[in-house]
Symmetry: C2
Subunit: 500 residues, 2 copies
Amino acid sequence: MATGRRLHEALSGRRLTRLEYEHALPRLQDALLDAQFTLARSRKHAVVMIVTGIPAAGRSEVVNELLGWLDPKLATVYGFHAPNDVERERPTLWRYWRLLPPKGRIAILHGGWYQDLLLGAAGLGVKTGSSPAQLRQGVARVRQLEQMLVRDGMVVCKVHLHVAPATQKKRLVRLQANKTTRWRVTQEDRWLARHYRPVERAFERTLAATDQPLAPWHVVDGTDSQHRAFEVGRQLLAAVQHADDAVPRSRNASKKAVVSAAIRARFATKPAGDALSDEEYEAELERLQGRLALLSRRKRFERHAVVAAFEGMDAAGKGGAIRRIIAALDARQFRVVPISAPTPEELARPYLWRFWFQLPPRGHYTLFDRSWYGRVLVERVRGFAQAPDWQRAYDEINEFERQLAEHRVIVAKFWLAVSREQQLERFAERDRNPLKRFKVDPEDRVNRRHWAAYQRAAQDMLARTDTPHAPWTIVPADDKRRARLTVLRALGDCIEAALD
Amino acid sequence: MATGRRLHEALSGRRLTRLEYEHALPRLQDALLDAQFTLARSRKHAVVMIVTGIPAAGRSEVVNELLGWLDPKLATVYGFHAPNDVERERPTLWRYWRLLPPKGRIAILHGGWYQDLLLGAAGLGVKTGSSPAQLRQGVARVRQLEQMLVRDGMVVCKVHLHVAPATQKKRLVRLQANKTTRWRVTQEDRWLARHYRPVERAFERTLAATDQPLAPWHVVDGTDSQHRAFEVGRQLLAAVQHADDAVPRSRNASKKAVVSAAIRARFATKPAGDALSDEEYEAELERLQGRLALLSRRKRFERHAVVAAFEGMDAAGKGGAIRRIIAALDARQFRVVPISAPTPEELARPYLWRFWFQLPPRGHYTLFDRSWYGRVLVERVRGFAQAPDWQRAYDEINEFERQLAEHRVIVAKFWLAVSREQQLERFAERDRNPLKRFKVDPEDRVNRRHWAAYQRAAQDMLARTDTPHAPWTIVPADDKRRARLTVLRALGDCIEAALD
């Protein structure tokens, strides 16, 4: 849709002739099946088709028709109710992230992430709100989501069905006249139909604002049932066939992060001050754990949640720090998620997918032992991700964490800075102590050889993702005990700041 | 635990000597790590450890201690709140099914499926209720669950921590005296402590009732913190090491199902009466779809859900029948789940796992295009499941469907009976028609060669799983249109009966 084009201009009133119906349709179906198989075989792309429209434009009918043409084993349809408990407790886009199809498959979404947005624009926003600022935020969020999905190899095909007011009215009357179809006309539908013109205008604006070259809108005339299904099928076909072209050329090499001396200085591995005695350590540990326990029981904490990410070289002490935190918490209140190489299931989705899956409900903690920052650390250093992919990851990560923060999730990120010498000592101790052998991984030695590259990657990461809503804490980690106390103190500070 | 043994008999008051602590403990940790790696490497078993106990017996402390000994990448801990929306809408055991670990891994459950049961027995049953009948039902459900899990290669290790009333009281007072630990003592804990004797008795009875050779209880004295962790660790070790012995010898060949002439007669493939004209078909289809639409909108329907399973030989018309049903439904109200060979993820769990995952919330439909009956059909006929495994599946399936029915889920099962000649005709048509080529699968020809074996398997299935709460409808399917009408009519009848 050319930005700014009016919806009613799509109303050609075109019908399929008998000839078209008998000849073109089977050919379209044939091509769709072919495209579907190619998609499934090559496993390079997934397809998300979103179908929106005004009431009585034929959204459900089109989707059902389409389903009859496709191989149902490779395509799934999703409709959406108002969010339930579990969904309400997560950021708005969580419910859509969860059902992103793996590469090779098609998902057809009734409304999808435009459902709330269109209703909000029309003035019916219950969940998202309808204020201009909220709508702008919603639009920006959706644009960024689609950019990320497309760059991760997903095809986003968006179709909006439209009909003239007279057609709409006639259909609604007919549906309401029959008791077996009356339920299809909701109160919302009637409201939207009564306010046809302003709703049309609001939809136009929203479509224009979310129309982007990598995920354009297609407005389809819903007047004739054969014609509209044919058109939607053609759009799906084109999207699948041109999946390879949908990914925009990678932008010019991203501007170099300015890693200042100040940033490098923050990566000190030795804490200031003297080592702690056993008594000092135990007393301070207990005090900080007690504080965390109290913070986590505060009434206000039930309106928040905590996502904490632990990064650092192997043997930096991530696991030990995490264990000191959970000792202060109710067993039902947290989940520890160790992150290692993605499974085939996870590889077939955008890389943030597996982290979205683990987001905590209100009042809970998810502690990530390694995290989404793997994209710009191990995947960058070891070449598991292409340069354009990890370069755009900084923005994607910032956006992800912004959505968490907007949803009142407290995001705390820790880089445990250990020195190369101290790491070697700890490796040696692991080799000596059979009870620590589960921590010995040949990969650790390989990573150690890339020490300088990891440090550079960590500094870039800090320069680009140390945001006000999700700040980094760099923890000098050569002294394990003081590192643990630093983590506990910083986490408590984060939570306290959020609650006050 | 020997059935009928009293809990207080486990209170030896034993403590670890310094010698034991310094020598035995590292050896236990060592053996646990070894066992964990063997478990992960062989991928023959998963382990579920359930930790229960009276308040202040040290449940959380023991679990945290244990976690420090294990490789956290291969073990996950779960605690449970009161069920949320999404969980309340499914059968009681759903939340536990969802997190069953895959083979090779350990899950440690705080309370797990005993949480509600023990509280209920003590008279605090909120969700499950505390009437003798409800408790008996709960006990039976849990016993059957554990039998199934163990026979599917899972090790179920159950530990109950106990302390004397004086110890309990002292600990609760100490916890309450400190503001950072006060929250750990819930109102429930205080109630249970005030009623120590009757609670102890109630727990004894529940443990005795759920103690079975394949999943015995171990009662551990919680008085000394080192001793109790050591004991629980030993039980876990023993469970993992003897995983292979946990599976009971397969019982004697299950009694042959009596497949009577009456049952065979029900598999007629030709419907009685004449073929329908186009007009008759369309009119009746619309009438039945309208009825289904109305039933699905009734207020009462919101208290139920529908699980429908479609089985039949290839080309019997399952997909076509399903499409006629969903045409009558709100797009947000149903999900169609096509079942094919299990993924590696699914193979690593008990075979019913992937079906539990798909259960609908209240007011919704899940339509399975093939189902859990694959276990006693294709897996039996083609030898993908061992005889003892598919033989016990009848009972397991009946239990699964009983739990659905108890939860007011309407279970409708359809066998579409097509004749061998008609199937061949449909295969030929698929070969001719390129638009149906996605339905052509070389496996279909292989299955066709096993025709007689499939028919026998289907008859056994009917004889053993045609229960009052989940009856089969055998649909003569040589006439596609009349088959669809039969399915729609039977499904409507099922729902109507449940609502009235």
